[in-house]
């Protein structure tokens, strides 16, 4: 497996072979006095699509960001493909190449064209040739339906187009896992569909995905599971059908009544 090669000789890897793609055990995150994540435990299987829902400020973004260590967790364990990514000998940049992340605000590099945005990481991190990177990049742009925008700078793209380029950029590293943090919240309604279509296709192709989103249609159709986060704790974990139709949890019902 990919991470095992990165461990130093003589240092025993902490393994946790439950066969899960992601395994989170008692994850805590504090910002100074603010206790944001209060012990999250869950696991995600290969090719599973997990939607993360919950009220604003409940810690959804922080949860995702802890899992590729954009935020340093305060305590707990995170295993990706069985490897403890919080262990001191882990090369976190190596881990991050296996986890694609898509942000609410796109965060494309404004000084690079679409194709250059996509090529940057494969060329600089994976050290593949310009030609190969371009070929792969164009294939990805084709996948998100933006081949004709390859040579265009982000500022000339609509929000939906920018987000699709951002997805292609993340996919260019050929990650095992994709995280989406409210990928459609910053978009005008008429552009949400095009982004969700791309995500739906990825789900069909068997990508392991964690999606913070409140797009009910997308979640019902594409998600295998919903994690319901309130105040830094998972209060519910089940299939969309269980949660939308049979939930007895007060907080869940209250939240669902607000967004439907």
């Amino acid at each position: 497996m990919f991470l095992r090669t990165s461990s130093r000789k003589g240092v025993k890897c902490k393994m946790n072979d439950t066969g899960a793609m992601i395994e989170v055990v008692d994850l805590h995150k504090r910002f100074k006095d603010l206790h944001v994540l209060k012990g999250i435990s869950t696991s995600v299987k290969q090719s599973e699509v997990v939607a993360v829902m919950g009220p604003s400020g409940s810690g959804k973004s922080t949860f995702l960001r802890c899992m590729n260590r954009l935020e340093e967790p305060s305590s707990g364990h995170i295993y990706i493909e069985g490897i403890d990514i919080l262990a001191p000998y882990i090369d976190i940049n190596r881990v991050r190449t296996e986890i694609g992340m898509v942000f609410q605000s796109f965060n494309l590099f404004p000084h690079l064209t679409s194709i250059e945005n996509i090529k940057l990481a494969p060329m600089s991190v994976r050290k593949i040739s310009d030609q190969e990177a371009t070929e792969r990049g164009m294939a990805l742009l084709d996948k998100v339906g933006l081949v004709d925008k390859a040579k265009v700078y982000p500022e000339q793209l609509s929000g939906g187009q920018q987000q699709r380029v951002a997805i292609a950029r993340a996919l260019a590293m050929q990650p095992q896992i994709m995280f989406f943090d409210e990928p459609t919240s910053a978009l005008d309604p008429e552009m949400i569909g095009e982004v969700l279509d791309v995500m739906r296709n990825m789900a069909k192709e068997g990508m392991t995905m964690m999606v913070v989103s409140h797009e009910m249609g997308f979640i019902k159709e594409a998600a295998d599971r919903i994690l319901f986060l309130v105040d830094g704790l998972i209060v519910e974990d089940g299939t969309p059908d269980q949660i939308f139709n049979y939930s007895k949890n007060e907080r869940t019902l209250e939240f669902l009544s607000k967004i439907i």
Partner: protein, 337 residues
């Protein structure tokens, strides 16, 4: 008020008139202004002394004439009712009169103007030294620019780590070199350091002083450039697996450079102008070359030539950096829209 309408309009018409005529002070009225102007012209024609260096009484008359002229100009300039054209004429006439007075009464040797100030023969004699001085100035400016860029960039990068200890030293460095006058720094390096066993040639001392001073400003410019980059850019780059050095090289620096180039060019121009200070530690740069040739030939033409050269070099450069600044502001506005 219970006054009949007719008398009310009467009163208001009267006060209107008063506003128009009665409230214009005497000295603002056209009759007074033009009258006094005629008197001033007569004064100039008959009372001013004739050409040559004036004695005290004549000097007094000249001073009074100038004062009256200024009072007249003041009255016209502070009056909105006077036509623009008159004000334009005023400006030109003051320049012409001042020039004419200077020409007429100063002790300058006007006949020898050409020989003294614009003597091409003297410039020709001084030419080899001037050319050498020019290259020295260029060397100083370029070396200082390179040095300040390297140091400034490194400082800004270290500063971005946000390490409190590192920050303390960097801030101390920046404060020190921004507070220290360049000329003092030069003298310190050239005249004081030898006593500590550090003996540097004049030119190295000059480059060092200019470079150190400029590096403080450059580091602040780069820091502002880094701060202008949104956190999301760095997060996106990290999330793709780029390490901090790759993030710096491929994401932060290219974006920061766009923001930084206009103020950076402005800083290089300012620093290039400061090379003239190197004349104080006996570096034969452009100014010193002009000065020494002036003494040698007993003629200020080389100095005048040097002055002109500075203008020819720096007016376009200053313009250029202003243009860059303006263009960046415009492109920023476009992005924001």
């Amino acid at each position: 008020m219970a006054q009949p309408a007719s008398s009310q309009t009467n009163i208001s018409r009267l006060s209107d008139l008063k506003d128009k005529v009665g409230h214009v002070p005497f000295i603002r009225r056209n009759s007074f202004v033009y009258g006094s102007l005629s008197l001033l012209v007569i004064y100039a024609l008959f009372l001013l002394p004739s050409k040559g260096s004036p004695d005290t009484v004549d000097l007094g008359r000249i001073v009074i004439f100038c004062l009256l002229l200024l009072v007249w100009a003041f009255i016209i300039f502070t009056d909105e009712l006077k036509p623009e054209k008159l004000k334009t004429i005023m400006v030109f006439s003051i320049f012409i009169i001042a020039g004419w007075l200077y020409y007429r009464y100063s002790t300058a040797r006007w006949g020898e103007m050409g020989f003294l100030f614009f003597n091409l023969e003297m410039v020709q004699k001084a030419w080899p030294t001037l050319v050498e001085g020019f290259w020295t100035t260029l060397l100083l400016a370029i070396c200082a620019a390179i040095m300040s860029t390297v140091i400034g960039l490194l400082l800004a990068i270290f500063r971005s780590f946000n390490n409190p200890v590192l920050n303390f030293f960097i801030i101390a460095y920046v404060d020190f070199f921004r507070a220290m006058p360049i000329i003092v720094l030069m003298m310190l390096i050239y005249y004081a350091l030898p006593f500590m066993g550090i003996r540097l040639s004049a030119i190295v001392s000059g480059i060092l002083a200019l470079g150190l001073n400029s590096s403080a400003y450059v580091s602040e410019i780069f820091r502002a450039g880094f701060l202008s980059i949104k956190k999301g850019q760095i997060e996106a780059s990290s999330a793709l697996g780029l390490n901090p050095i790759q993030t710096m090289r491929f994401v932060i620096l290219p974006q920061a450079f766009r923001v930084v180039i206009p103020p950076l060019v402005g800083n290089y121009v300012a620093s290039a102008k400061d090379t003239a200070l190197a004349s104080s530690i006996s570096i034969i740069e452009l100014l010193k070359a002009g000065l020494s040739q002036k003494s040698l030939l007993a003629n200020p033409s080389p100095l005048i030539f040097v002055t002109a050269l500075y203008l020819v070099m720096f007016v376009p450069l200053t313009r250029f950096s202003g243009y860059l600044e303006k263009r960046m502001k415009e492109s920023q506005r476009q992005v924001r829209l």
